[in-house]
Structures are given as structure tokens and as C-alpha cells.
Symmetry: C2
Subunit: 197 residues, 2 copies
DNA sequence: GTCTATAAAAAGATAGAC
DNA sequence: GTCTATCTTTTTATAGAC
């Protein structure tokens, strides 16, 4: 593999594991085995390398999110996505970046993060709409809101799991969300509509 | 105010705003106005100061959480807590710390964070149990799980808001959680129980 | 308890030969 | 494109006078 690619890959891992502020040029050099000179040849600064690495992490995450776009029972897709096995203690490659002030305050570095979440939101809204249309979810639930709620459950689940150094809170949070969705599947509102007809 | 207290207060703010790794002794000195000598007189290291500051941030957060323990309609308390105005772009003083590797990997620094979330969980479970007992929530929902779900909605809501630099996703996430709880209030399960009697 | 001076180490790059 | 050497600044303290 060429040096440039190796640097990006290494930085992607370090951003996930340690974030931006706590990753030094030396960490990158030592883990990648790429020399000082090469590093600054390919990337003028740590920030430029971080940008490339961040784009890579975003790209790595989107295929997973696109599972929400599949076909078949939408509620089943939602439940499958929420309960998919994840390494909760490692956190989210993308969500993590929001806690790094040097990323958060830098519009260029924050942009890929914002884009990733915006795209995930689109997929969530679509599958939720499908679930409502299929009569699997109450029709008085707002898909745009609910999409943010379910995205937050995942992102927040990581926080809880890391705090306790135990993946159980993450799994609980997701399972609890599934419970709520199922409870909201039995549609009082739809029944009302039926009665009106 | 004495130097020691001023240092802790300043560090508390900096931990909230910038986290541990990205806060330097100089930042602390400049913002607090306390001299170098005084700082190392009161705290042998940055880590020791951070520990005191972290305990302070945890202590500042717990009174808010204890609002869940009040009296009156439990579901109303839950909704009030979820929709209370918050500065979403600033994130959570305590949850934020889970993303700092130097905190996450240090059992002593992580302990106050774990304790705070454990305590919040207790309050959440209690109010959820009350809501179920009062017939305001389906009795087939597991309070322990749901507690983690709702805590995650808040923590994850901050992540979404910071990513978009907009508090709307946070408010959406919370409002969506309230919607789901209300949908789950109309208890199919309780109705079944009624029928059995 | 506070102040100023000093300093070892790491972060974040630059220079220039090959 | 890679390598080694150099360099500035910041981090994280320590020392010792007042």
C-alpha cells in the first residue's frame, strides 16, 4: 500500500480511538511506519490529513446506514438496524468528532460530519414514512422528529456505554427504542380513522 | 473568591467547553488570572485539578436530574424533563467527558461520570415505574431499558445538534421521544388485563 | 499562598540532501 | 517521494525567592 493511503487509514483509526486533539504527528508516524518527511510531503498539516481521514470514516459509515433503505417490512428494517451488533465501547467514528473543539469550531472539518448525519436522517425519515404508510406505526407520529430521536438513541447509547465501560446501556437503549416503537405500532390513531369511515 | 475555588470553577468551564486534552495549563492560568505558582501549589497536576472540576460539574448536574423525583403526575414530570430548555450546542458537561481518551482510560477520572449516569438511571427508573403503576404507560415496557433509552435521547441529541450547529435536532429528538411515550401510554397491554378480569 | 524563573518533553512543523 | 536534521511553540511541570 502506498504511503498516502496508509497515512489516511492510520489517521482514520486514530481519530476514532483518540479524537483529533489527542492524536499527535508522532502517533501517526509511529503507528503507520511512514516517515516524517513523507507525511509532510503528502499532507501540509495535521488538519489536512485529518480532513482526508474524516471523509474516509464518513464513507465507511454510509453503507451501513443505507441498510435502512432496503426493501421488505420497514419496521423490521428499523428494528434490525437498531439491534445490529455494534462495538458500543468504541463509539461512533463520526459522532465522536462533534466533541473535539478543533473539529467543532472548524467548518471545513465539521462539514463531513454534518453531511453524514443529514444523509442518515434522510434514510431514517424515508423508512419511517414507509412504516406509517404500511400501517405499522401510528400515523400521528412525525417521521422527521422520530428520525432524530432514533439517531440520538444510538449516539447517546455510545455515551452511556463508555461512561459505564459496559455495552449493556447501549443495548438497553436500543432495545427500549424498539419496545417503544412496537408499543406505538398498535395504532390508536389508525383505529380512530377506521371508525370514522 | 479564593484561588483554589477560582481554579476549579475555571477548569469546570474549560472541561465543558473544550474537554480535557484540549485544555492547557496556560488556558487555565489565563482565564482564571491565577498565577503559575498558585496553580501548582493547589493542584500537583492538571489531572488533579480536572478531577476536582469534574466532581463539580457532576454536582452541578444532579439537582436538575432530581426534578424527575418530584411528586405529581409522573408522565408529566418525564415530559417536563425531556422538554426543559437546554443549550443544546454546548452539550452535556458530564457526557462530554466520555469522548476524552485521557478521561475514558483513567478509572479515577471516569468514576464521577459513571456515578452521575448511574444516579440519573435510578431516578429515571423510579419515575418510569411510577408512570406504569399509575396506568400512564404500558405495563409491558421495561423501566430499566426505557430509562437508558431516554437518557440516550438526551445525550445523542447533543451530538446531532453540534454536528448541525443547530439546536433543532436536539429538540426534535426530545419531542419525538415524548410522542413515542404518549403513543405508548394508550395501553393495549393494560386493556388486555382489564379484559381478563 | 503567591511570584518569577527555569526546564524537560512533546507538538507541529520546516529544510534540504538524496 | 523519502530521509534525517533542525526548529519554534506549547505543554506540563519544578525550583526557589518572597
Amino acid at each position: 500500500m502506498d504511503s498516502r493511503e496508509l497515512l489516511v487509514e492510520t489517521m482514520s483509526d486514530l481519530l476514532w480511538e483518540r479524537g483529533y486533539a489527542d492524536t499527535s504527528p508522532r502517533d501517526i508516524r509511529e503507528r503507520s511506519g511512514v516517515g516524517q518527511g513523507s507525511m509532510y510531503h503528502h499532507f501540509p498539516s495535521k488538519r489536512d490529513l485529518a480532513l482526508a481521514a474524516l471523509e474516509r470514516n464518513v464513507a465507511a459509515l454510509l453503507p451501513a446506514v443505507s441498510d435502512l433503505d432496503g426493501r421488505g417490512d420497514p419496521l423490521a428494517r428499523i428494528e434490525a438496524y437498531l439491534t445490529r451488533p455494534r462495538d458500543a465501547l468504541k463509539g461512533c467514528k463520526v459522532g465522536r468528532m462533534t466533541q473535539d473543539p478543533q473539529v467543532r469550531e472548524d467548518p471545513v472539518l465539521l462539514a463531513p460530519v454534518a453531511r453524514a448525519f443529514a444523509q442518515a436522517h434522510v434514510s431514517w425519515v424515508r423508512v419511517l414514512r414507509e412504516a406509517i404508510a404500511a400501517g405499522k406505526l401510528r400515523d400521528d407520529l412525525a417521521p422527521e422528529r422520530l428520525a432524530h430521536t432514533l439517531m440520538a438513541v444510538l449516539q447517546g447509547g455510545y455515551v452511556l456505554a463508555i461512561a459505564q465501560q459496559d455495552s449493556a446501556p447501549f443495548e438497553d437503549a436500543c432495545a427500549g427504542a424498539v419496545d417503544l416503537l412496537r408499543a406505538a405500532a398498535t395504532s390508536t390513531s389508525n383505529l380512530k380513522n377506521d371508525r370514522r369511515k
